[in-house]
């Protein structure tokens, strides 16, 4: 990672995030949210998060073959746990334990 780029990225992310959060609080009189945009915002989290997760999980990790890639399998287990429990901690635990278990079995 390039250091000057990283520092710039952190500062820009901070300003951008603040601008989004403070937008209407600071300028409600001058800003209007178009209704179509307001409705679209509901679908930002599922679309963006899925676009981040799927490629990350499908990336070959070098252990296991094709659909039996260890990280993909551990991700699938974690996905089911996330769906049933809705808990961040349980999802994390299920995914990591599955990954460790499979790595240990195949060693």
């Amino acid at each position: 990672m390039n250091r000057p780029d990283l520092w710039f990225t952190i500062a820009a992310m901070a300003l951008l995030t603040f601008a989004l959060r403070a937008s209407f609080l600071l300028a409600a009189d001058r800003l209007v949210l178009p209704p179509l945009l307001g409705r679209s915002l509901t679908y930002v989290p599922p679309a963006v998060l899925a676009a981040i997760v799927l490629p990350a999980l499908a990336q070959p990790s070098g252990v296991g073959v094709g659909p039996f890639d260890l990280r993909l399998l551990a991700g699938a287990v974690a996905g089911v746990v996330a769906w049933r429990t809705r808990s961040i901690l349980a999802t994390f635990a299920a995914g990591m334990v599955t990954l460790w278990g499979l790595t240990w079995l195949l060693r």
């Binding site: 600071l26 963006v48 981040i52 990350a56 961040i88």
Partner: protein, 236 residues
């Protein structure tokens, strides 16, 4: 500026269970940032100034994959766009606060704080000082998040690479993604966004992520419209 203590404490009481959830999330974020090559100081500073878990994890994953800075910023914009919705929803209730107070509340307007604030403001409690209620949630949450990330970064530096802690990043996103799918249009948005990003994974600058996400948002919005017209027809 006097702080109305009961309102501040009321905020603290509401947010306390959330702190228990934010602490391990921060620990994991700090540890996985170090696993991805960031320094402890860098990720701690990022937590203190950006204060947005999902956006930070996305940035960590993208930066360690060598993505361009503008792709990281565009992803931050998309991941955090929902905060505009929160800001717009709370603005009418906070119009009478000073400019500085509104800026301070904007800085801490994360998901859970928005959810509690909209709930409590709707009850129109006469004794609740809204500014102090919001800051009573925001300050402890910010402190917890920043300290937990720092602790995670220092602990994570001791963890050997064989533990594969970098896998925590996609796991965290999975834990955020699944509850965000609340209905069928949401599922359409997720499948379109994820599928397209996967198919376009070979594009430079992680452009597949950007194209997939934007198409997914459009697909979800369109699906909502189709579902609405369909259910109207059925009623007739």
């Amino acid at each position: 500026m006097r702080v109305h203590r009961p309102s501040f404490l009321s905020g603290l009481r509401d947010v306390a269970p959330m702190l228990l959830g934010a602490a391990p999330f921060g620990l994991i974020t700090g540890a996985s940032a170090v696993a991805a090559g960031m320094a402890a100081l860098e990720i701690t500073l990022m937590s203190a100034t950006v204060f947005a878990g999902a956006a930070q994890l996305a940035a960590i994953a993208l930066l360690s994959a060598g993505a361009a800075v503008w792709v990281v910023l565009l992803t931050t914009l998309m991941v955090n766009l929902r905060h505009v919705m929160y800001s717009a929803a709370l603005a009418p209730s906070l119009r009478s606060e000073s400019l500085g107070a509104r800026a301070a509340m904007g800085a801490v307007l994360v998901d859970h704080i928005y959810a509690f604030a909209s709930l409590r403001f709707a009850r129109r409690e006469p004794d609740l000082v809204r500014r102090d209620y919001v800051l009573g949630m925001g300050l402890p949450m910010w402190l917890t998040w920043t300290c937990a990330t720092a602790a995670g970064a220092f602990l994570g530096a001791q963890v050997p690479a064989s533990w594969q802690l970098d896998f925590a990043v996609p796991l965290m996103f999975l834990a955020l993604l699944i509850p965000s799918i609340r209905n069928r249009p949401g599922l359409v948005a997720a499948i379109t966004g994820g599928g397209l990003a996967l198919a376009l994974g070979g594009l430079p600058f992680n452009l597949g992520l950007v194209i997939g996400a934007l198409t997914g948002i459009a697909a979800g919005t369109a699906a909502e419209r189709v579902a609405a017209t369909y259910s109207q027809r059925r009623v007739r």
